[in-house]
């Protein structure tokens, strides 16, 4: 992303809307400026701000008059008055930032808009997480911190050392140079993204081991981690297997997304899943 200096009037609205705090008013040039190393190309500024197309000279003059008389100008806070943001032509490896940060851009490896896959949200038709299994989503950088692939790689290599298999259709997996070791392509390790999700699946008896491993790696990385744990319910819709493990580890379970099982396979050519016994009590 770039800011057209001819248009920018340094109103400062954009400095608040950047999720990474990467936009600031450069006092030397009196224009909004982007810290390109911190910018994750999420396009929140370009897509989220409403745009007016006012004359920049006129707006600067008005602002100057108000400033001179110490009058508070109180415009709408979600507007760029001169439409000063202009998308860049992104090249590799910087384009990776946008793929993981702008939710409107589908990732080529998944076709899914966003940073992960369908995971348990379509479990009723995909059968991805089966009885006796736990699907983990390990998300880095959200909310509002961001993550570099060098940190994400630390988690991936630690998981790989435990023999964990990564979800094949996941965007992070697609950027690994060696899936067996969890190594990520060298040329993107310093790229920063708004968030990225590593997805794995293990048997339930390994759930505690994985969480303790995540705790260990979290101490070595400079970002926040959000853990999601997906699991199949029994035929009564109950889940009394994984929740006790999580509670034993000290988690207070407050929120979840619940797949209510109304989906079915309707594409004529799609293979039907094997009938699954769901008695896990």
């Amino acid at each position: 992303m770039k800011i057209n200096a001819e248009k920018c009037v340094a109103c400062g609205n954009c400095t608040y809307v950047c999720p990474m705090g990467a936009i600031y008013i450069d006092q030397k040039i009196h224009r909004a400026t982007i810290n390109r190393d911190e910018c994750v190309e999420c396009y929140a500024c370009f897509n989220g701000l409403s745009q007016e197309h006012l004359n920049p000279t006129f707006v600067r003059a008005v602002r100057k008059v108000f400033q001179t008389f110490r009058l508070r100008f109180d415009p709408e806070p979600d507007v760029c008055p001169t439409a000063a943001f202009e998308p860049d032509e992104l090249a590799w490896p910087r384009i990776v930032r946008r793929a993981f940060s702008d939710p409107r851009v589908p990732h080529e490896s998944t076709g899914v808009h966003g940073r992960g896959t369908e995971e348990v949200k379509t479990n009723d038709v995909s059968g991805r997480v089966k009885v006796g299994e736990v699907g983990f989503t390990i998300e880095f950088g959200r909310p509002g911190v961001g993550a570099r692939f060098r940190d994400i790689q630390k988690m991936c290599t630690a998981l790989a050392q435990r023999g964990v298999a990564f979800e094949k259709k996941n965007p992070v997996t697609s950027l690994m140079s060696d899936v067996a070791t969890g190594a990520i392509r060298e040329d993107i390790l310093d790229e920063k993204v708004l968030s990225a999700i590593v997805e794995i699946k293990v048997s339930i008896d390994r759930a505690e081991e994985i969480i303790r491993l995540v705790w260990d790696v979290e101490k070595q990385i400079d970002t926040v981690v959000a853990l999601g744990v997906g699991v199949r319910c029994d035929e009564d819709g109950e889940e009394n297997v994984v929740a006790p493990i999580l509670e034993k580890l000290g988690y207070k379970l407050e929120r979840a997304k619940t797949n209510i099982g109304l989906g079915r396979i309707t594409n004529p050519a799609a293979p039907q899943p094997a009938q699954e016994t769901v008695s896990v009590k």
Binding site: P19, Q51, E76, K121, G135, V145, V224, N259, L262, N267
Partner: protein
């Protein structure tokens, strides 16, 4: 995509936050899914959602690319639900957001009766989703727990700002904007509803809950910590 899973707050804080979303699975039930996704959103209208959205085009309140300067005094904050439905162009995730459990329960019942064949998920407190399933007579199929945020949590802001910014799970609502709007409501420069509408426009898939946001803004402006 975990864009509604990791909303910050205790279970009780989701009493006015029920996100019900529908999606198809690539290669399994995505063919001819467009009319079903539209039907899902149309069914939601009868239950008075506070937001509707699709993951490609956005929610019921969107930024303008050609805003009239007079909008500063007469900003339209009415959600355009029909626009969301008519703007749907292909398979994606669609969501309906409700601010009370009864509406969510009734909507889930309607979706069950419509038998769309899409995967339907409820994102709210664990108890809230269970109650919706119970009311509709549906056993839960799968559940995805949020274990919250860990690691370098010293980089995160206070709880009220977190509760606001995490309502856009894609991270399009910045902590700075949420904090600024808390301050503006505290100063009386904007109403909680106006402040909530600004944040709603940044959410790119329409799952932001403006009712919950207005409540949180009001609480934060009064200095309530939780």
């Amino acid at each position: 995509m975990t864009n509604t899973l990791h909303r910050f707050g205790p279970a009780e804080s989701f009493r006015d936050d029920y996100v019900v979303f529908a999606m198809c699975s690539k290669g399994r039930n995505d063919q001819d899914s467009l009319p079903k996704l539209k039907r899902f959103l149309e069914l939601a209208l009868a239950h008075k959602p506070v937001n509707l959205g699709d993951a490609i085009h956005g929610g019921a309140l969107r930024p303008s690319k050609d805003m009239n300067p007079s909008s500063h005094w007469h900003r339209d904050t009415a959600p355009d639900f029909e626009g969301v439905i008519q703007g749907l162009t292909g398979p994606t995730t669609v969501a309906a957001v409700f601010d009370n459990r009864v509406a969510a329960e009734d909507f889930v019942k309607a979706v069950k009766d419509a038998d769309l064949g899409l995967s339907i998920n409820i994102s709210t407190s664990i108890d809230g989703a269970e109650q919706c399933c119970f009311a509709a007579g549906i056993p839960r199929h799968s559940v995805g727990y949020s274990l919250g945020f860990e690691g370098a949590t010293e980089k995160l802001p206070g709880s009220k700002v977190m509760m606001l910014s995490t309502m856009c799970g894609h991270g399009m609502v910045s902590h700075s904007l949420a904090k600024k709007l808390v301050d503006w409501v505290r100063e009386g420069r904007r109403t909680p509803e106006q402040a909530a509408s600004y944040m709603t426009r940044f959410c790119s898939c329409g799952v932001f809950n403006p009712t919950r946001a207005a409540r949180i803004l009001e609480e934060a402006a009064r200095g309530e910590s939780q």
